[in-house]
Symmetry: C2
Subunit: 231 residues, 2 copies
Amino acid sequence: MALKLFELVGTDAGRPFSPFCWRSRLALAHKGLSAESIPWRFTEKSALAPYGSEKVPVMLDRDRAVADSWIIATYLEDTYPDRPSLFGGAGGRAMARFLNAWGDIAIVGGIFPLIIADIPNNLATVDAAYFRQSREARFGKRLEEIMAPRDQAVVGFRKSLEPLRQTLKTQPFLGGDAPNYADYIVFGGFQWARVVSPFRLLEETDSVYAWRERLLDAFDGLARNSPGYPV
Amino acid sequence: MALKLFELVGTDAGRPFSPFCWRSRLALAHKGLSAESIPWRFTEKSALAPYGSEKVPVMLDRDRAVADSWIIATYLEDTYPDRPSLFGGAGGRAMARFLNAWGDIAIVGGIFPLIIADIPNNLATVDAAYFRQSREARFGKRLEEIMAPRDQAVVGFRKSLEPLRQTLKTQPFLGGDAPNYADYIVFGGFQWARVVSPFRLLEETDSVYAWRERLLDAFDGLARNSPGYPV
């Protein structure tokens, strides 16, 4: 297979969980491209060194390496222009940059403290130790302390989804009638949470819940068929 | 002139201030269209009744009335397809829906408590009374109480702009290399504040400040030449 994608996993190599890798995985599916998945773990920095990156996703297209989910998306759009568009034109490509930032801050950043202490349960000892040390240094407290108020904190997270909820009042996807990269940006965060944590982020009556269901079903259930907790 | 736009004003008919009317005014400029401005005040509900709306903007295109800033934008895009695109394609149009919701919630909703008690200073007695009564009922407190903590609250507002700031790291406008409707959505809120309040929303070192400067200068200074406070 010409395409390969390094994807973050833990003890189970068949359970990729990075929100950024999921963006790329869904972008590939949108383009109708299949890629060989290369499982990668937090402490395997040396495996990525030849490609000039310290983080996943890294995609290989024959002898070309492309790192960073946004760069991968634009690479796929430019390299495979005859396949379904990820952005729906130049305006969508520019605005998806904003969605990418909102996805990083409100979704990935918003979910992280709600699931952070569940993540090491998915990791081998060496990776769990690396994760705990690096993230506790970043937040300045223990993972368990960060996550402790999640039953209250999730209320604020749900409130922060209001722009998404407003959008879904008039269209089924951020991309309009069908999903595009804007949806994969945001959904990647929810899929990450689903894979690593049993914590319920959304109420069933929420239109964002229904939207997530549609994304779980996309591409013949690509995301739903990947192992995870019930949502 | 074939096009007319009802715009919210106060005592000064030449000082339109609604964030939603500014979205439409800039959309018209983007399309290279001029429209006669019809000054409208909060208590002049009867002037809009024939057009089936209680709020501005309402745009008249000969005998056709179009209400609501989003509907006006899509109407202009569809009616004048040969003029510069407001959305840059179908993807941009879909994603602009999200920007519209974010602009309503984070920008208009974020700025409102920071300037709310300054607004009546711009209004005639009858409109000021209407504004005070309706908004105090909505918030459940006096305008002055809502605005009192603004020196602290503005810190949170500035923080909420982070997705915009991240986007501006790689492109000068939300629309990419040039502004489009995504920019007008967000800028409309800043222009509203500039017209009605001396309160300084942004620090000069902020990339959002520089972006706002670019929008103030767009279309030969359309927004900057409209009366307002220094920003």
